[in-house]
């Protein structure tokens, strides 16, 4: 990897971070909204912990995994809409006229998304610690949790980039937000899958990869080192990242039709 390429990625990642930081709504909302939902759910659903088989006596600890996924969804939207705006304004054409390698654009954009994801993850973890959540996997688990968050951010950011490159429209990217939210809701977000009584819901949650991402995160917080949950979580996160990156790379090649 040449110095030039690294510098290109660095500058593009810097731009991604700077423009996110300069849009307060893109920083504050993805931090505040998940925390509010966490506060509401953890107080309102605390009684669910009395169900036989519930893995912890703290619903806050159980639900702390959810903000990580909500943050990933916001990362998808932000990465997608930023890139779509570059397409719509012609900024992508400006970049295409430089010797920049297409993959540097994608790497830079995703670098910025992952930086934002890291900030979010630190906020969720800090919020959990402040509110008394005991991380069952300890300090090592927190480190793994951070890495896991970055992998999820990479995959979802690439998904947003793919949508932007495919449609070229910020509105189309934002239009996918409710769809992603449905995936989040039809998952083990609010209840362990084995305790979901409605058959179709349990089946849908079992088929939904988001469940395994949440369960991977949750295992580090409430269970400890659960090899199966981590393998499934990391496996699906890696799969999403690989598929989304491939799609985004192909779409970028099509979008940058320079000869």
């Amino acid at each position: 990897m040449s110095d030039g390429f690294v510098e290109q990625v660095g500058q593009l990642a810097r731009r991604s971070v700077v423009r996110t930081a300069r849009q307060p709504a893109n920083v504050v909302f993805p931090l505040v909204f998940p925390l509010l939902l966490l506060a509401v759910n953890s107080t309102g659903l605390q009684s669910a912990t009395r169900l036989p088989g519930f893995p912890t006596d703290s619903y806050l600890a159980f639900a702390l995994a959810v903000p990580f996924m909500q943050g990933a969804l916001f990362a998808t939207m932000n990465a997608g809409t930023d890139l779509a705006r570059d397409i719509q304004t012609g900024f992508l054409n400006r970049l295409a006229l430089t010797p920049m390698r297409g993959i540097a654009l994608l790497a830079g954009q995703l670098g910025g998304v992952m930086a934002m994801t890291a900030v979010q993850a630190v906020v969720w973890i800090s919020a959990g610690l402040i509110l008394g959540v005991h991380f069952a996997a300890g300090a090592g688990g927190i480190a793994v949790l951070l890495i896991f968050s970055l992998l999820i951010g990479l995959g979802f950011g690439a998904l947003g980039a793919f949508l932007a490159l495919r449609t070229g429209s910020g509105e189309s990217v934002q239009g996918m937000f409710p769809v992603f939210f449905v995936f989040l809701f039809i998952s083990s977000m609010a209840m362990p899958r084995n305790l979901i009584e409605i058959d179709w819901f349990r089946t849908a949650a079992t088929a939904n990869p988001v469940s395994y991402l949440i369960e991977g995160i949750r295992s580090l917080i409430v269970i400890g080192w659960d090899a199966e949950a981590l393998a499934l979580g990391f496996g699906f996160a890696a799969l999403i990242a690989v598929v989304a990156l491939t799609l985004a790379t192909v779409s970028l090649r099509t979008r940058l039709t320079r000869s």
Partner: protein
């Protein structure tokens, strides 16, 4: 074959899947150091041509070389030799002018030690030093265009493409940009390919003009040549006393053929504007008092009218250029 270091296009065509031939067989030659004005209404095919010549859009047919490099087979070499400020200044409203230059110099591979200095020089040159650390969203249209131009120049390109660089600018900003473009061509020897829908811009700035309509070049030459092609200048005389109109017409008839006039009487000059002094002397010797005397030179609009049967003003309103699609037909 023209000079390989300018721009040479031969039979350039671009078709879109669900649209007409946006560019329909363009042949053109732009010499090094020349400012070539590509004049036409909205939707004529100007931007599509620029996108092809800058390698952003592959041609459906035809060939072109830019700076001696083939636009299809040698895209990276073409891009290294050119700078481009495309239609609508493509800037990030959240970045400052200086941050734009930092990004652009990095992506253009300017050595790290030179980047800041190069950026400062260009900001100074386009008059944005004071505003360099302000976010672009607070810039006026003229400032955005000037920053766009600075960004196009960071790697000292030999050829500069400017796609409607002054559209929407106030007269002062327009004039400042013209000055800078003129300086680039004259002092730095940069070849400039400039698209415009403004007659005045092509007239003032371009050494040669190509007039494009419906994807085809309908006329090409220096502004003076093009105007001379469509006709000679006319002179209109408005006598102080309207009763003298007939007498004035008699005097003017010595210098050309009568033609339509708005207020007074007019003739199309037989030998050109050199007759103007003779006309003044003839009117004076006949003691005919004149309220107004005007020489009308043919304009590029007259050229466009003669070649297409339409006036350039508003000609593009009925047929907008198709949005640049990705898939060739």
């Amino acid at each position: 074959m023209a000079d390989e270091h300018g721009i040479v296009a031969s039979g350039l065509v671009r078709e879109f899947k669900k649209g007409p031939r946006a560019v329909d067989g363009i042949d053109l030659v732009v010499h090094p150091g020349e400012i070539y004005g590509f004049l036409g209404p909205n939707g004529a095919g100007k931007s599509t041509t620029v996108h092809m010549l800058t390698t952003l859009l592959p041609p459906t047919e035809g060939t072109a070389t830019v700076a001696g490099y083939d636009i299809v087979r040698e895209g990276p070499q073409v891009r290294a030799a050119i700078g481009a400020a495309l239609q609508e200044a493509a800037l990030d409203p959240l970045l400052t002018g200086r941050e734009h230059l930092r990004l652009q110099t990095t992506l253009q591979g300017i050595p790290r030690s030179e980047r800041a200095r190069r950026g400062d020089v260009l900001l100074e040159r386009v008059g944005l030093s004071q505003a360099a650390d302000r976010k672009v969203r607070g810039y006026s249209g003229g400032m955005k265009r000037r920053l766009d131009l600075a960004l196009a120049l960071v790697h000292s390109p030999r050829i500069l493409f400017l796609d409607e660089p002054t559209t929407g600018l106030d007269p002062q900003s327009r004039s400042a940009l013209w000055q800078e473009v003129g300086r680039l061509a004259q002092d730095d020897g940069v070849t400039v390919f400039l698209t415009t829908q403004y007659l005045e811009e092509a007239d003032v700035l371009a050494n040669r003009v190509g007039i494009i309509d419906h994807g085809k070049i309908v006329a090409e030459g220096t502004p003076a040549q093009l105007k001379a092609e469509v006709g000679r200048p006319t002179v209109e005389v408005v006598p102080v006393d309207p009763e003298d109109k007939e007498r004035a017409a008699g005097i003017l008839a010595r210098f050309g053929e009568p033609c339509a006039a708005i207020q007074g009487v007019a003739v199309r000059l037989r030998t050109g504007e050199a007759d103007l002094a003779e006309i003044v002397r003839a009117l004076d010797s006949e003691n005919l008092k004149v309220e107004n005397l005007q020489l009308h030179q043919p304009s590029l609009d007259d050229v466009f009218l003669a070649k297409t049967g339409r006036s350039l003003e508003g000609a593009g309103e009925e047929d907008q250029e198709p949005e640049l699609a990705l898939e060739p037909a």
